[in-house]
Subunit: 215 residues, 2 copies
Amino acid sequence: MRLYTYFRSSAAYRVRIALNLKGLDWSPVAVHLVRSGGEQHLPDYRALNPAGLVPALEDGGHVLTQSLAIMEYLDETHPAPPLLPADALGRARVRAIAQSIACDIHPINNLRVLQYLTRELGASDEQKNAWYRHWVTQGLAALEQMLAGHPDTASFCHGDTPTLADCCLVPQVFNARRFGCDLGAMPVIQRIAERCEALEAFRLAAPQQQADAEH
Amino acid sequence: MRLYTYFRSSAAYRVRIALNLKGLDWSPVAVHLVRSGGEQHLPDYRALNPAGLVPALEDGGHVLTQSLAIMEYLDETHPAPPLLPADALGRARVRAIAQSIACDIHPINNLRVLQYLTRELGASDEQKNAWYRHWVTQGLAALEQMLAGHPDTASFCHGDTPTLADCCLVPQVFNARRFGCDLGAMPVIQRIAERCEALEAFRLAAPQQQADAEH
């Protein structure tokens, strides 16, 4: 399998974690989201993924897009270890946690959105950073409440093994720290993120561990 | 089942379609997203869904959130008619189409984001509408390419029965029309949306058909 990835892309980071948790053999193809006006916009990459976003996964000649869809595909085609619980309610909860990040937080703070704020609306750096922190803080505060009050929250977001929810949480926490968001009021999120980051599958998926990382 | 819904919420609209396609018995609980500063922010609703977003589904005393997670749950607990194809690649494609709307287009144009643009960044109505049309047009153009070039695109986004992809497509097209986006270059999307809208399950889920609709 080949993963089209950018070290700092949080959606690619999710899939890297899932690939590692599954113990799959994969190789990265770096797509630099900033250099040359964004390599994701080049015709060759657009032919693979018309949306011009990373990640994309190539598996047996097929190209898959959208990080959550890719992770569900990996879970269906390589069931062990499972990244979703066995019961429908548990699956719904894990997916809801994953989507509270992948739909409610991350898209609003994506690179292209921040670029639009700056270029089209003339937002200052200060306004851009306030925007970023606003959505992360609001979104993670809601997630903290979802996690803190629920009996299925354990070592990880749902139970004692990592799920899709944790694959989404860790990259979002990474971004939150990078932009200086205050996570002080989110002890459950911090505890789970640290527990995940102690695992090799998460550690090796981190931005700074990637071949295309810039330090 | 009780669905916490707002007639114009596109995420609630998706779930209304799925409930109708499954032929399930459900009743709406209206949450007005604008009146009284937004009823989704009231303590009673926040206790159900800490994110303060619609929809939420109550089923047998359990509360589920996130429209895509709710639809997957409905598909698992009420398998007929299926809203996902049987094969892993097909499922990945349907989920990717659904997420290209639910992750790449809709969150950036959500009410709370538009309110932030106006209130915090002082965007004019013209700038707000340009923002809206920018993300819809860019996102749907990419989706048109995904659909137009693929052998599995048929009467619906994937094959000849509606899937989760169609449940997401129709509300997004509804919004696009409402904001005057030009869909002229998207014949496949238009054809599929019209095919869907001819079905009762879609028709009865439309904003103007809801008990809380404002005309």
